[in-house]
């Protein structure tokens, strides 16, 4: 049995690199086994190798490289399923028809499962068999994580977030940064109230890069006279456990927020402008916790659209010219939020110019699913964002908005790289600037 550390051409954190081959394979088997169920088996079994999912994936569209075919990305998961749990698993084992997975083989898939997938679900919409390939990729990441093969950046951020509540060290704790944002933008940050109807969370991307969006959230909630609070012990919306594929870590990171919501008896937990945070909390947290959540999880645009409908929120017309809006994949394709952002735009007199591929079918910014954080994925990600820029340019828009700070960051980074003319903006910030009587 080989137990020595393996020098993979993979992007690993030191802690992951220490793992020996047998521990790595055992981890992968454990991780994949936990993900095998009736639904994943049906999906893994049903593929007819028609290759059409490639035509939906922006990583394939921009490279024409067949390795980026979505269903190929789950090959190790499929291999383990066929060999260990498929209908003819013993036959595959006895006759050596499916080889036992090796660490080196798994390591080769790191690039496909992480660097080149936003977990966006566009491929799932395309598959004629109705296979949710994106969900399979997410499950395959969980096997990779257990094998110690999550990319260094995601692993380390997930580990740090699990330990401390924030994904990376900062010069001062996020709580203090939040209060500093309040002072800078002259808004009163509701913090650590023992009881509140609404628990607010904040993307660390906003704290670090878009403080105006944090102030906008606070301003809008104050305008609505919402009984809300941030809680120091559960501030960060993102979930790096979700990106890295660490099922248990994802649960623990979600639990931090859930505990705070329960502690302050919140009826609503608001996920701010962050797509993947929404997926993790809205659609996965209850399943990982094994019980329904005792509060609602709403994306900020949903919350504001409800307020609009109830007549609690009124907005002034925004003079921003032709405007295009980017639907974050996790909100629209995987989250079902299509109408809310458009309701808000229309309430400000903006009729969004839809991209050619639109409402659920648009391509991604390229940075989601943790891809933005992975250094070595930058070149590939830039090709996707360039394609996205073409899509937006075709609308002739002068203003460009989205409602996910990670998409925004990816666009900003792409803007620098390609000298793109438009400046990605936040829908929430625009709303905060156009509060009637605000």
């Amino acid at each position: 049995m080989n137990t020595s550390p393996v020098d993979f051409q993979a992007n690993l954190a030191p802690e992951e690199a220490k793992l020996g081959e047998s521990a790595r394979v055992a981890g992968a088997m454990r991780g994949f086994a936990r993900e095998i169920g009736a639904l994943s088996a049906l999906r893994l079994d049903a593929c007819v190798h028609c290759g059409m999912c490639a035509d939906a994936c922006h990583f394939y569209i921009v490279t024409e490289d067949p390795q980026y075919t979505p269903v190929l990305k789950v090959e190790p998961f499929k291999q383990v399923f066929k060999r260990e749990a498929g209908a003819f698993a013993p036959v595959f084992r006895w006759f050596g028809l499916k080889a036992k997975i090796t660490g080196a083989e798994l390591a080769r898939w790191q690039h496909l499962l992480y660097d080149s997938c936003n977990l966006c679900g566009r491929c799932s919409l395309m598959c004629p068999m109705g296979i949710d390939i994106a969900e399979l990729i997410e499950q395959a990441r969980r096997g990779m994580f257990e094998a110690g093969l999550a990319p260094k950046e995601l692993y380390e951020k997930a580990a740090h977030q699990r330990r401390t509540g924030q994904p990376e060290p900062s010069d001062e704790p996020y709580r203090d940064k939040l209060l500093a944002i309040g002072r800078r933008f002259n808004v009163e940050i509701p913090l650590d109230k023992p009881r509140a109807e609404v628990l607010l969370t904040v993307p660390r991307t906003d704290i670090e890069h878009y403080p105006a969006a944090v102030a906008a959230l606070v301003r809008v909630m104050a305008h609505l006279k919402a009984d809300c609070t941030f809680r120091s012990d559960g501030l960060v919306a993102e979930n790096y456990g979700y990106y890295a594929g660490g099922r248990d870590w994802q649960r623990e990171i979600s639990r931090r927020l859930i505990d705070q919501a329960v502690a302050c008896q919140a009826k609503v937990l608001i996920v701010p402008e962050c797509g993947h945070a929404y997926s993790a909390l809205r659609w996965e947290a209850a399943e990982l916790m094994g019980k329904s959540l005792p509060f609602k999880v709403l994306h900020i645009t949903e919350y504001l659209a409800e307020a609009l409908e109830a007549g609690r929120l009124r907005l002034r017309t925004a003079q921003v010219g032709a405007t295009a809006f980017h639907d974050p994949c996790q909100l629209v394709r995987k989250g079902g939020i299509t109408a809310a952002p458009r309701q808000l735009l229309r309430a400000m007199g903006i009729e969004p110019r839809e991209t050619v591929r639109h409402i659920g079918y648009n391509i991604c910014c390229g940075g989601g699913g943790g891809v933005f954080d992975i250094e070595r994925a930058a070149t590939l990600r830039h090709r996707v964002v360039e394609e996205k820029f073409h899509e937006i340019d075709q609308t002739g828009a002068q203003t460009f908005l989205t409602t996910c700070s990670d998409c925004r960051r990816t666009f900003d980074d792409g803007k620098k790289r390609f000298n793109w003319e438009l400046t990605p903006g936040s829908l929430l910030e625009l709303v905060a600037e156009h509060l009637q009587g605000g």
Binding site: A54, D55, A87, F88, P128, M129, A286, M289, G335, G336
Partner: protein, 219 residues
């Protein structure tokens, strides 16, 4: 017992048993696995999601306009050869007698000459499908033994069938025996490979439609 008797006697019986048991086992194996509990609060009610799942079994048959430009060749080929196969298998008079004898039913046939034309077209499409699989970078990259063997099994059935109707290649009786044997082979291979998709296609589409609609997401 000659070749035809063997092919449609014990060989067919054995193949049919493997076919049925294999399919049942494959489906049971999936059903026996753990069922994930969905606990997140739904956006759409269960009946709406169920209805969408049902709708999805049909609506997925036609790709969304967003995708069709990129997938039109694959779709067109896929549709045409499936239609060709249905016509040749189900509307050819001798096949109607053969299958009809099992279920005690008859249905109208197309004239033999028409079916022969369809058979030629379908075989041509099959060659195109193989050429595409070998030539298209994505398909080449994806393909495995199952893809080629499943292709071979169906193609063999088509070719031997055409040879039998056209009386070429060998004495009619021998070709007929080979044709029925290739049908036996298809039954035996069916549960082991991708031909099973005929049983999976509707459940996967329905499940996807249900799960996504429950979230209010497109499916």
């Amino acid at each position: 017992m000659d070749l035809v008797d063997f092919a449609r006697g014990p060989a067919l019986k054995a193949a049919f048993i493997i076919f049925i048991l294999g399919i049942v086992w494959r489906i049971v194996n999936v059903l026996l696995l753990r069922h994930k509990r969905i606990l997140s609060e739904p956006r759409r009610s269960v009946p709406v999601a169920l209805l969408a799942g049902l709708k999805g079994t049909g609506s997925r048959s036609w790709p969304h306009p967003e995708f069709i430009k990129r997938t039109v060749t694959g779709e067109a080929l896929g549709y045409s050869y499936h239609i060709g196969l249905f016509i040749v298998i189900l509307l050819f008079a001798p096949h109607i007698i053969f299958f009809g004898s099992f279920i005690g039913a008859r249905w109208p046939a197309l004239p033999n000459s028409v079916v022969t034309i369809f058979a030629v077209i379908t075989i041509t499409l099959f060659v195109a499908v193989l050429a595409r699989r070998l030539g298209h970078p994505v398909l080449r990259h994806l393909s495995n033994f199952d893809d080629f063997f499943s292709w071979f099994v169906v193609a063999l059935l088509l070719v031997t069938g055409l040879m039998a109707t056209a009386h070429v290649g060998a004495p009619y009786h021998t070709i007929l025996g080979l044709h029925i044997l290739s049908f036996d082979l298809l039954l035996i291979w069916y549960p082991f490979g991708k031909l099973m998709h005929a049983f999976y296609i509707f459940p996967t589409r329905a499940v996807d439609g249900y799960v996504m609609t429950r979230k209010g997401a497109p499916s």
